[in-house]
Amino acid sequence: MKFSVQSKAFAMLLSVGLVAGCSSTGDTMEDGTYGSDVAAIDQDGGSTVYGGADGDGVSSRGLTDDERQAAQQQAEQQALRNITVFYFDFDTSEIKQEARDVLVAHARFLADNPRQKVRLEGHTDERGTKEYNLALGERRASAVQRFLVVNGASRGQLETVSYGEEKPAVHGSSESAWAQNRRVELVFE
């Protein structure tokens, strides 16, 4: 399941202590399953997970500070880049706060690997009209594209496509299904 991968990624993210800057959930809480998952991790996490990570840091294996830092950063980036799906609220294309660090990591990776291409697939939930949703999915993909370009990726690496409501991640007509279907997926080629 994509979701458990995601959760692990988030736990790792927390463990390297980067979560301090993105503890704000607030509005995103209303965003069905996804929102509540994030909130749950935030609540469990915080100090406990952070403490464990610190312990890891202390019992270092004799690497130099620089090496250790580079390794840590690499791991960090790798962990972040495991997240490739970004969720949205109903009828919006606003990138959520908690997605930003991950997207920054992707942008850096793309900047470091100019040959890497990525497809940004925009999706919506089933509510509303198909054509409007097609445009809305497009706008979501474009929002992510802009964010990546601003953070170092080159436009030539990025291709957007909207499927509107045609390719739901989860079938069904529940708040939870809708929340998981309002998304932009990064597909690396």
Partner: protein
């Protein structure tokens, strides 16, 4: 003293005037003929007897012509055909029609006819009678090849409908729609065209990728649609007779929402090639592209007004999707829907009276219509999760997609929200209906 006299004169003048008026009133009421004003009609559909046609010669198997006519008239929601088992006689020509009998049965109209086979053709002679006026209001012959009995029947339905209602019938029109089947994890999209009653359906395009927004050309010969077969939305035109397809819009980003102009020479399209969903006009012959909207918001779902001068479209420039009307190309768009926070996909009728659209109320999506004369917005469907309204060419009926037990089905309603008629379910989801034009 003078004043007094004047006063007195005033009194008597008033008295005379009053008397005069009273007498005039009395006289007028006495002379005026009684006028009874009828402002409301019967709430029910029109009773009509479609008498099974007399047959001479071998008829093809399958539905009888009169049964198809009966079903057509029923589907319109405006007629209430009499069960043939309740008929006192089965006339097939004028001399056999006893108006008294039909009046006793409460019938307004009686349709009688004869079918004659001659070679591969079938001829129909049919007559429509007004029971109360005891007059024949229709008497025609029509013919079709033996394997096109349905075409013949729909034609008769159209003629009967028009003779009684004054509006052209739409029973011969075609329906385009997309079906989606999921078998073994594989999804299959099919663009299909059928009779209005769902019969004689034919698949015109099959794809593993989504097919969206079929739109009929005004002559009924072509369809335009969005296909993802190349991995992204691209607009095609498709000539039904030959099966010939053309990629008409394959720009970076979005290529969607095709809508034919009434003259069939251009298409409205939604493109995001300039960074954001905007509406363009594509002249098919020349390939000239004109941008019609320019706004940071989403502008999509363009539709020509009945006169072919202005366009309706969906825009979220006010925060959520709402319907706007651009009276002439290039004019400042004017928002026309205000009834809720979500109003989208305008479909104007052919008379310029109403515009139908998807309307969100509370958590449900319905089809609503707005009266263009007075701005009155009315919800006309009782189902929820309603999508893709498409108006009949005569403006009397509406077809739309809705959810039924988790699958998408098509439903026909009369345009004022009266009778509803669900089309026979195909396998899987049926969606994106497009009501074809009347082809003469």
């Amino acid at each position: 003293m003078n004043a007094h006299n004047a006063y007195r004169q005033g009194f008597s003048f008033a008295a005379v005037l009053t008397a005069l008026l009273v007498s005039m009133l009395v006289a007028s009421t006495a002379r005026a003929e009684l006028l009874i004003r009828i402002t409301e009609g019967a709430d029910s559909a029109i009773p009509i007897a479609v008498v099974p046609f007399a047959e001479s010669g071998a008829m093809p198997a399958g539905d009888k012509v009169s049964s198809i006519v009966q079903a057509d008239l029923t589907m319109s929601g405006e007629f209430r055909p009499l069960e043939p088992t309740r008929m006192l006689s089965l006339p097939s020509q004028r001399s056999e029609v006893y108006f008294r009998d039909w009046r006793m049965l409460g019938q307004r109209y009686v349709l009688v006819g004869q079918l004659t086979r001659s070679g591969e053709r079938i001829e129909a002679r049919y007559e429509l009678f007004d029971v109360n006026r005891e007059e024949r209001i229709l008497g025609e012959t029509a013919g079709a090849s033996a394997n096109n009995v349905r075409t013949l029947a729909h034609h008769i339905s159209d003629r009967v409908y028009e003779a009684i209602t004054g509006d052209p019938g739409v029973f011969s029109t075609k329906l385009a729609y997309v079906t989606l089947s999921r078998t073994g994890g594989e999804t299959l999209y099919r663009l299909q065209v059928s009779d209005l009653d769902g019969k004689r359906a034919r698949v015109r395009l099959e794809s593993k990728e989504p097919i969206l927004s079929p739109a009929w050309s005004p002559d009924g010969k072509q369809l335009a649609y969005v296909s993802f077969e190349t991995g992204k939305p691209v607009v095609f035109t498709h000539e039904l007779a030959s099966g010939e397809r053309k990629k008409v819009a394959d720009f970076p980003g979005l290529n969607s929402a095709p809508a034919w102009s009434p003259d069939g020479k251009s298409l409205l399209l939604t493109l995001s090639k300039d960074g954001n969903a905007e509406i363009y006009r594509l002249e098919i012959a020349s390939g000239n592209l004109t941008r019609l909207t320019n706004h940071w918001a989403i502008d999509t779902e363009g539709a020509w007004d009945h006169a072919g001068r202005g366009i309706f479209f969906t825009s979220d420039r006010s925060g959520g999707p709402q319907i706007y009307y651009m009276e002439r190309l290039g004019a400042e768009p004017r928002r026309i829907t205000f009834g809720s926070r979500y109003n989208a996909r305008a479909r104007p009728d052919a008379k310029g009276e109403y515009v139908y659209y998807v309307h969100q109320r509370n958590r449900a999506f319905h089809i609503a219509r707005i009266n263009l004369k007075n701005g009155e917005e009315t919800v006309i469907t009782r189902t929820e999760s309603d999508e893709s309204p498409s108006v009949s060419p005569n403006g009397r009926m509406l077809i739309y997609a809705t959810q039924q037990n988790g699958t998408s089905v098509l439903t026909v309603v009369s345009a004022n929200g009266g009778a509803a008629y669900s089309l026979p379910a195909a396998d899987g989801d049926v969606r994106e209906p497009a009501w074809g034009p009347i082809v003469r």
